[in-house]
Symmetry: C2
Subunit: 331 residues, 2 copies
């Protein structure tokens, strides 16, 4: 069945089953926030054949990924999610089933965080378009910004990098996975199809500062545009530089036997969409944090000198200075 | 100059000049809200050649109207605006100038309410798409819902109806304005091009309840989809009916000499996009409210019987029962 057959009102009735019933039917949604918290808001627009494609991504996964990206932006600010709104532009010949699967994917990603879809809009458009706005809240003194990294801060990543890029490669070119077990392949593909926003890291981080009786002080962002980009953006915003040790970057288990060291590091630094957090914080806190989070690691530290240096222990890869708008130097 | 010539980064730099500088550069925007207020959120998606067209609407007016519609949704809930986010999908051959004018229109509409654009996203898309999310706040006890209208409530409209529809007619068919003065034509066109969200009504309403030492009790919505639709939606949500007197509906000064009574009432009831408020409230409050607001009027009252009856004093127009999904009965 196509949208044109059930009309806007028919579709809205279906989509309302994904929203809390008490907020339906008014000009806007109303919900409560905790007092003395700042409001955090982030918006993403995703366009068919630009940001998603039916060839590589199911409607369910498109919904999951678009929500995950927005929740990751909230985690990157240290915030906890409150609600999302969804604006859809859809051609009349879109299958109703596609839209239901999209919403199921969004709901599944939101479910662990008990975050409701509080509203939105569905309109006719020649191009499938998804506009998501995520709202969160954060205590003003516990907000994570990019511009507050300090010299000698440890740089922590909350998980492996390169998995999403490798998963995309396997989805596009299945023959590249011949040397991998089915379960390894599945794990990498899922890293691409169902990324997990690292909202779980935020309460752990707050607890560690509290246990240490230390004022919260974390700079950071997420690694949605790649790990190298995240370190460079934080350094630029904070007016500092960094040293990164390539061997310290956590990568998927199968990378060393499956990929060349160059390719593995390229995926880890520039692959993007791993949706991990890249955090700069005092070393004692960093060591406690990495002890509590699987695959988290200290990958380097902040320095006065404004460059970001990659130190390589591998003869195949030269140590080098990373720059924005420039990929990996293959010699 | 086209977007493809300056790239996403170039465009973002231009658009950031429309945002408060302190909120730029992180994964999400952070801002403060007042304690003990509920958060109100509304989202609209507008698509080229569906909701706007370069033939009838300048980029400035497209920006103005898209913000006005969202602010009107906040006013309809009794809320005051906090911030908006803007998600844009744009083809590469879009003129940079068009985007700047769009943002100027949005900023001009926001300016009286000191409401910032706190973020957004700009992506490549084959179809020009504007997704706006407006955030507001309201005291929980002063929220306006559709479902709380009570029998014997007076029904108030905050201004004239039909002007936006008439203005659109003049923009599409200028020859229809031959009997009107230039200033009358301009006034109607502006009603369509630069509608004013009725946020000004909310503090007046609160003050009147306070002066009367009476608990705030208002049901309502805006008339963006037409006055008839608003009355019907409120009645349906509240499980009540209404009597509307056609002669009490405020219409533009020029309608009686310019349009037939049937056409004038059709524009007023079904024209849409006047963005006035339709409010149901106790009669003593209603009379004080209409006394303080130009062109506001009591147009009828809420009744037990679940129909919405239109009482006509004009022989050309039969008294009739209004229904959803059905326009005006021309006999």
């Amino acid at each position: 069945m196509k949208l044109s057959e059930i009309g806007e009102q028919g579709l809205l009735q279906i989509l309302q089953s994904f929203c809390p019933s008490e907020i339906i039917g008014d000009d806007a949604a109303v919900f409560t926030t905790q007092p003395h918290q700042s409001l955090v808001v982030t918006t993403d627009v995703l366009v068919d054949n630009v940001h998603f494609s039916e060839n590589t991504t199911s409607a369910f996964d498109t919904g999951w990924r678009s929500v995950a990206a927005n929740l990751s932006d909230l985690a990157a600010m240290g915030a906890t999610p409150l609600a999302i709104t969804v604006g859809l532009g859809l051609p009349g010949d879109t299958e109703v089933n596609w839209v239901e699967n999209l919403y199921q994917g969004m709901s599944s990603c939101l479910q662990p965080y008990q975050t409701p879809i509080v509203g939105g809009d569905v309109v006719r458009s020649p191009t499938k378009t998804i506009a998501i706005t995520a709202l969160g809240q954060v205590h003003p003194q516990q907000t994570i910004y990019r511009h507050t990294a300090q010299v000698d801060d440890a740089i922590v990543v909350t998980g492996v990098h390169g998995a999403s890029r490798a998963g995309l490669e396997l989805l596009l070119h299945p023959e590249q996975g011949l040397n991998l077990t089915a379960s390894s392949q599945q794990k990498l593909k899922l890293a691409h199809q169902r990324p997990q926003p690292r909202l779980d890291v935020i309460p752990i981080l707050k607890d560690i500062f509290k246990l240490n009786d230390s004022p919260f002080r974390v700079a950071g962002m997420d690694s949605s545009d790649g790990l190298a980009d995240a370190v460079l953006q934080i350094c630029r915003a904070s007016g500092v530089g960094a040293i990164i040790h390539s061997t310290q970057i956590p990568i998927p288990d199968v990378f060393p036997t499956w990929l060349s060291p160059t390719k593995a590091l390229e995926y880890a630094l520039y692959g993007g969409e791993d949706f991990e957090l890249v955090l700069c914080l005092p070393l004692p806190i960093a060591t406690q944090l990495t002890a509590q989070i699987n695959h988290a690691a200290i990958i380097g530290c902040i320095q006065v000198e404004p460059q970001v240096h990659l130190i390589s222990d591998n003869k195949e890869i030269p140590s080098q200075t990373l720059t924005l708008n420039q990929g990996f130097q293959h010699f």
